[in-house]
């Protein structure tokens, strides 16, 4: 079955000075899937996310998003692509001088024809969909806990109903209950909104709970892609350690108990 590829990476090379982070990296992301990207610290997971999101162009290679060359296109084409993607940064990256509601309204301001009242109501809807209470909309980011900031960041990333959402460590720093609530939120939203999710994480529970497919970054490229059960078969030492370590077993047990 031919699946619709929304992000296609070919031969990506990124480096900082002489330090090569990615070399000849290839990856396809299919429409409607939740792709989890894992890898040890310093393997350039976040760098890859920033590459695709257009924040840091790679030194070489091709990125095509929605079938369009995302590296060699005009600025207005790039902006059109950006409007169809949303990024949630690690700590939310909310604008600290705006309330949560105003933060969510920021991307909506780029849409012509939306009145202020509509923006406000839509922002309240997005805040609620991200699992925050109504009153959180009036608060400033500094008045929120880390978990609430992440939810607010997600609400802003979803403001324009993007087709692709990039999540950078969505559950890092959350308590287990908050983290699994966030997992369910991501999974539920991806199902009902038909989202494609590109998820960078270290959290094995998140991988179990949300991801359709997993991509392992190692040795400067995407070493393996596949489902969770595929990953358990891989005999690369790092991958084996990652998916068979004590934490992985605990996550797997939980998963089985729930199932």
């Amino acid at each position: 079955m031919e699946r619709d590829v929304v992000i296609r990476l070919r031969g990506i090379r990124t480096q900082f000075g002489t330090q090569v982070v990615h070399d000849d990296l290839n990856l396809d992301v299919y429409r409607g899937e939740v792709l989890g990207v894992v890898g040890g610290s310093g393997t350039g997971k976040s760098v890859l996310l920033r590459c695709i999101a257009g924040l840091r162009p790679p030194q070489a290679g091709e990125i095509s998003i929605f079938g369009q060359d995302a590296l060699h296109c005009s600025e207005s084409e790039r902006r059109a692509i950006d409007q169809r993607m949303g990024v949630m940064f690690q700590d939310g990256a909310l604008f600290s001088s705006l309330t949560v509601r105003e933060n969510v309204e920021v991307p909506m301001r780029t849409v012509p024809g939306l009145s202020a009242a509509m923006r406000r109501e839509l922002a309240d809807l997005k805040i609620s969909m991200a699992g925050l209470p109504y009153i959180a909309g009036d608060k400033f980011p500094s008045e929120l806990s880390g978990g609430m900031r992440k939810r607010a960041g997600l609400a802003r990333a979803l403001a324009l109903d993007p087709e692709i959402v990039f999540l950078d460590e969505p559950t890092a720093g959350l308590d287990p209950i908050g983290a699994s609530a966030f997992d369910e939120l991501i999974y539920g939203l991806s199902q009902s909104m038909g989202l494609t999710v590109f998820l960078v994480t270290h959290d094995l529970d998140t991988l179990h709970a949300t991801c359709d497919r997993i991509a392992v970054l190692a040795e400067k490229r995407v070493m393996y892609t596949g489902t969770m059960s595929d990953m358990l078969e891989v005999d690369h030492p790092w991958v084996h350690e990652y998916f068979h370590g004590p934490r992985a077993r605990a996550a797997l047990d939980t998963k089985e108990r729930i199932a």
Partner: protein, 384 residues
């Protein structure tokens, strides 16, 4: 129903021209095109304008549909329900149905807004808060000064804990690097005084008194006051920004947990550096001001530098110089304490850093001028 495309399945042909259409087909209103956040501005008024006892909407023609679209349909339904009518959605795909259900579940309940209080009570409360705020600010400034003096006394007894490197660094930042701007400012003030004095005094033929004019005003007041104002602008803001950004990133909390006293590490070297360098800057300002004045007197009035110097030494009492220098440490304390205090007031966001930085400069300059006025009154009463 089968031909309803899945959400997001159809790639948008042109993102610049999304269109929403609404057509009556018999009893049913057929929606087609896009019903998304991009078309909402045009679509919502058209949907809300629909009238009828039992509206039936056909969603099968929609090529794109998102949460904003689902919200618009729910809004229409809410409006119709309020009027006692009903809305039915036909030919929804499974995805559309799930989306509408999800949005319906998420629509927040808006609590009734608090009635805002107006009238005299409200304004009295605001005034009261402002007065208490000023009182608290003064108390905090005094507390900050107390902490500084206490830590300084502690360091005098335990000199090994003193951070000489930090002191030298800050002395370089607040003192040495301010020399060019302070010199230039003082030189120009001297020039201006000489020029203005010459114009006035020439009318009486008493040009020679321009030396006294320049010497007294610069040595007694202007040299040190203007230096303090420039330093307040330069240094109070940089203290606030440096300490404030450390506060913002929880570095100060980290110091506390590591049993490092922020007052000893941050405040003492900064304020002490100001205490040491401000009198030196004032002295430089005095010299440069006199130099500018002498130069202008020579050009404008023909008072030779030798004559200027003789007149300066013979006529100007040493009191003026002392009166000027007595103020310098006080100004230094005011600037340093206000700058450090504002830094500690910074909250969690970038906005408050900016607010506190500008507030620190305004307060420091204001406080320096007030202190100068008090000094003037005091010296006048003492006949100095």
């Amino acid at each position: 129903m089968a031909e309803a495309p899945a959400i997001g399945e159809q790639a948008r042909t042109s993102s610049a021209d999304p269109a929403f259409g609404l057509e009556q087909q018999g009893d049913i209103w057929a929606l087609h095109g896009e019903l998304t956040v991009r078309t909402l501005g045009a679509a919502l008024p058209r949907l809300l304008a629909l009238k009828g006892d039992a509206l039936a909407l056909d969603l099968s023609g929609l090529t794109r549909f998102d949460t904003s679209g689902a919200w618009a349909l729910l809004k229409l339904r809410e409006q119709q329900h309020a009027a006692g009518h009903d809305v039915t959605l036909h030919a929804q795909s499974a995805e559309q149905k799930a989306l509408v259900a999800r949005v319906e579940q998420a629509i927040p309940e808006v609590p009734a807004p608090d009635a805002t209080r107006h009238g005299i009570q409200h304004y009295l409360a605001v005034l009261g808060k402002a007065v208490v705020g000023v009182g608290r600010f003064l108390a905090e400034i005094l507390a900050m000064l107390g902490v500084f003096l206490a830590r300084l006394a502690h360091l005098a007894r335990h000199p090994s804990q003193f951070r000489l490197t930090a002191l030298v660094y800050h002395a370089d930042q607040v003192g040495w690097r301010a020399v060019p701007i302070v010199s230039l400012m003082a030189f120009l003030i001297g020039v201006v005084l000489a020029f203005q004095g010459a114009v006035q005094l020439r009318q009486f033929g008493t040009e020679i008194f321009v030396v006294d004019l320049i010497a007294i005003s610069i040595l007694r007041e202007l040299g040190i006051l203007l230096t303090a104002i420039i330093v307040a602008g330069r240094t109070a803001s940089s203290f606030t920004a440096a300490i404030g950004s450390m506060k913002m990133r929880e570095e100060i909390d980290a110091m506390n947990t590591l049993a490092i006293d922020p007052a000893t590490v941050l405040f003492v070297p900064r304020i002490l550096a100001l205490l040491i360098t401000l009198p030196i800057l004032g002295m430089i300002a005095n010299v440069m001001g006199l130099f500018g004045g002498a130069l202008m007197s020579w050009i404008e009035l023909g008072i030779s530098p030798a004559m200027f110097l003789t007149r300066l030494i013979e006529d100007t009492s040493m009191d003026h110089v002392l009166v000027g220098f007595v103020k310098a440490p006080v100004f230094a304390l005011i600037i340093g304490v206000i700058g450090c205090h504002a830094g500690m007031q910074v909250g969690g966001n970038a906005e408050s850093l900016g607010q506190q930085t500008s507030a620190a400069v305004v307060r420091a300059i204001f406080a320096v001028i007030v202190a100068d006025a008090l000094f003037s009154v005091f010296f006048a009463m003492m006949n100095i």
